[in-house]
Amino acid sequence: MHADVLGQCLRDALGDVVRGAHDTLRVRPESISQISRLFRLANTHRFHIAVPGSQLVAGRGVVTLDLDALPRIRALDIESQILHVEGGALVSTVECHLRARGLTLGASDVLDPRQSVSDWLASGAPGARAHADDPVDQLVCGLDVVLPDGTELTIRPAPRRAVGPDLVPAFVGGRAALGVIVGAHLVARRDTPRTQITYRFATRDAAESARAWVRGYGVRPASITLTEDSERAILIVSIEGSRGVRDACLATVARVAAERGGIPCNDASPLAPSSTPISGPSAIVRALGRALDPANVLGPARTEGDSLS
């Protein structure tokens, strides 16, 4: 469809939430139902939608979905410490909202202040606490998603469930392969004092072993980062909680590190993190994306490098 015709078609259907013209058409919906309608239009009129977190870029035949008009914090369930936010809320705004109430997302300071919750989650929530650091804790306990055919999918908040496959990791870190995240139930944590300690190890294996045993002994670090260069491996451990628990955990960390030749140091220089960055959806999840999106609304980027038919 010609860009001008497409623009008019979108304005007729969605009103003044449609901005721009030609190759820079943007839709700034004010409700989830408008997003659903946009996706249904895309299925009917065969255009692509670039959504937060996806790798599809604006251009001919691509409409950009902008979630700026969905920035609200819908509810803070203070008893459960669960924050229900819209996908367009900025992560930094969410964090400020929580900090004012003595809570935090617990993510490290690498958060991009301009990043929306939708974009952050679709990219795998970089900076968030590793699940291995506290298997009882979680960041995302529920999601609101719009699937490529316009269906609204709600994963209700629950601390844990055993009702089939867990779809959350297919969306969080999924780079919008299966749909766009339009809301999330985020679990906040108490913003308590932290103590950070750093150990230097001769080898990566020794540092990895120390990290495993720290976790194995039941220490739940706020974060534990392994960085390395050709000559050393550095383990940066951050412990939080009440003074008594923190001191006991720090003593355990010190013992584990010493047993593996770890030497306390002040060196927290920014070596490259050794963790593998999230690589996007797997081949089967991409295939699932195609099954859910036969009209290829979410774009051709998802099909790259696939061998699975």
């Binding site: 506290d134 209700r156 297919a170 990895e208």
Partner: protein, 527 residues
């Protein structure tokens, strides 16, 4: 002799034997069976609805055609490819201890028992990782780890009669989940065979990041699990115990929530409602000191005497009994009992015990010492063995474990209690707590004049309770899974997520041969 067999178990003119011969060529002649005893044994799991059926004289409503015991992932793949080519349903089978009808073959199906795949392949002591095959029994895995000074930290009450593969398929939780997490929290990698017979080796750092959470919990409808890589921990050097009594369930829950949100991680935090507390207080530790792992306590069969008859009669009209107990103030029953167990390093555990003491006291708890927690630990696996005597006396017993955020946990408890009350006698405890919510474990018992009426009552109780869970904002299952028992209610909770799972199944199992009817329902839905 054949005339004495139920119709479903009579010979089928040689088709089963022909199928068995084909499968024998893939896994070996002695590793297949069409024997009646095997077909009956593999026709169900421990779903109480089926157990009532057995009592009514229906041991195997839809027995499988053949049972196979492959020994290797390649043999599993060969069996699945064969079944896919011939469009024969396959039911992956661990130890059959599930309670939701997760393994309920359709007639003519192949049951694929994984128990010959039971090796512990490697224990990486430096990185705290174990590689084990899916068919290993839970206690055997724990024993092997214990010999080297480690633990998986996964102790479901079925640990003696459930497999690693079964745990993964159903998203199992162990009693120490507060320290080690649920089974899905321990998985670092796995191997599985999809419905086309393709083998997937998944690593959490690679393609497994999003696929492992999709396969784990899929209850055998997407793939057959053959082995897993799991995080382990050093075996605890010591344990710490504490218990408290609260006037109300509400104040006990507030104490647990405050502890979890303050970052404390007791391995066990179990709060019994006042009536369940009354029962739990009768548990005394065994006289002889025992080790870390204790066997199930023997259960005394109830003779069909006056006591049993009176109990059965009372269970036929549970409403009045539930109302009476509900009307009693908590303190009249002795209050709500909280037991806590820690398995951390001694210094960490001691610090957490001190912090827990402060928070529990603040929430109105009165310490009752270590003994109730020690008594629970000593008897912790025996609960699964208490159902048989009730069934033998003509009643039925079942359990239901649901979860929700803290803000809806107590309203859900009340709503489910209310929904169950007209049908069955009900009590509950709260276990498996998290910073954002927790799980409720309902135990209920009922009876009726005959088995047909018992089934009707059983079905009505489940239907009303599941509806109450979803309406209250909870999830249908925390760790038992869905099987056939909860599949009819799945759409109500999961909505469009069911369609996403169906789409995934169409990719991994295009002919719908893997455990059809489980989890997301199907044509053979048992209810």
């Amino acid at each position: 002799m054949n005339a004495a067999l139920p119709e479903s178990l009579r010979p089928d003119g040689g088709a089963h034997e022909a199928l068995r011969r084909d499968l024998a060529a893939l896994v070996g002649d002695t590793h297949t069976s069409t024997a009646t005893a095997d077909r009956v044994a593999y026709a169900r799991d421990l779903w109480p609805r089926q157990v009532i059926g057995v009592r009514a004289g229906i041991p195997a409503p839809a027995p499988p055609a053949v049972v196979v015991w492959p020994a290797h992932v390649d043999e599993v793949a060969a069996v699945v490819r064969y079944a896919n080519g011939h469009q024969i349903p396959i039911v992956p089978y661990g130890a059959g201890s599930g309670v939701c009808g997760g393994v309920l073959p359709t007639r003519g199906a192949i049951v694929l028992d994984t128990k010959r795949m039971r090796a512990v392949r490697a224990i990486d002591e430096a990185r705290l990782i174990v590689d084990a095959e899916a068919g290993i029994l839970g206690q055997h895995l724990e024993d092997r780890l214990g010999e080297r000074g480690f633990t998986l930290g996964h102790f479901p009450s079925s640990i003696y009669c459930s497999t690693l593969g079964g745990w993964l398929a159903g998203r199992s939780a162990g009693q120490c989940s507060g320290r080690y997490g649920k089974i899905e929290d321990m998985v670092l990698g796995l191997t599985c065979v999809d419905g086309r017979g393709e083998v997937h080796r998944l690593d959490l750092e690679g393609d497994g990041r999003d696929l492992i959470p999709l396969v784990v919990g899929s209850e055998g409808i997407l793939a057959v699990l053959t082995d897993a890589r799991l995080r382990i921990a050093p075996a605890p050097r010591t344990r710490r115990f504490a218990s408290y009594t609260f006037d109300t369930t509400e104040s006990g829950l507030a104490a647990i929530r405050t502890m979890l949100q303050a970052g404390l991680r007791p391995a066990v935090a179990r709060l019994y409602d006042p009536f369940d507390s009354l029962i739990a207080r009768r548990n005394k530790p065994p006289r002889a000191p025992s080790g870390i792992i204790e066997g199930p306590a023997p259960t005394k069969p109830l003779s069909p005497g006056l006591g049993a008859r009176l109990l059965t009669r009372a269970l036929r009209s549970p409403g009045a009994l539930n109302t009476l107990i509900e009307s009693l103030p908590g303190p009249a029953l002795g209050g709500a009992m909280l037991i806590l167990v820690w398995e951390d390093e001694p210094a960490v555990a001691d610090a957490e015990v001190a912090e827990a003491e402060r928070l529990c006291t603040q929430a109105g708890g009165r310490t009752t010492g270590e003994e109730p927690a020690r008594a629970w630990l000593a008897r912790r696996h025996s609960v699964s063995y208490r159902q048989s005597p009730m069934l033998a006396m003509g009643a039925f017993v079942d359990t239901m474990e649901v979860a929700s955020p803290w803000s809806t946990l107590l309203p859900m408890y009340r709503a489910v209690h209310h929904a169950l009350s007209p049908h069955v006698f009900v009590m509950a405890h709260f276990s498996h707590a998290y910073p954002d919510g927790g799980s409720i474990y309902f135990t209920f018992a009922g009876a009726a004049a005959d088995d047909e009426s018992a089934l009707a009552k059983y079905d009505a109780a489940w239907r009303d309770a599941l509806r109450a869970v979803v309406d209250a904002g909870g999830t249908l299952s925390h760790h038992h899974g869905v099987g056939r028992s909860k599949a009819p209610a799945m759409r109500r909770e999961q909505g469009a997520a069911i369609d996403v799972v169906r789409a995934l199944k169409s990719i991994l199992d295009p002919n719908d041969i893997l455990n059809p009817g489980a989890l997301i329902g199907g044509a053979d839905d048992a209810r």
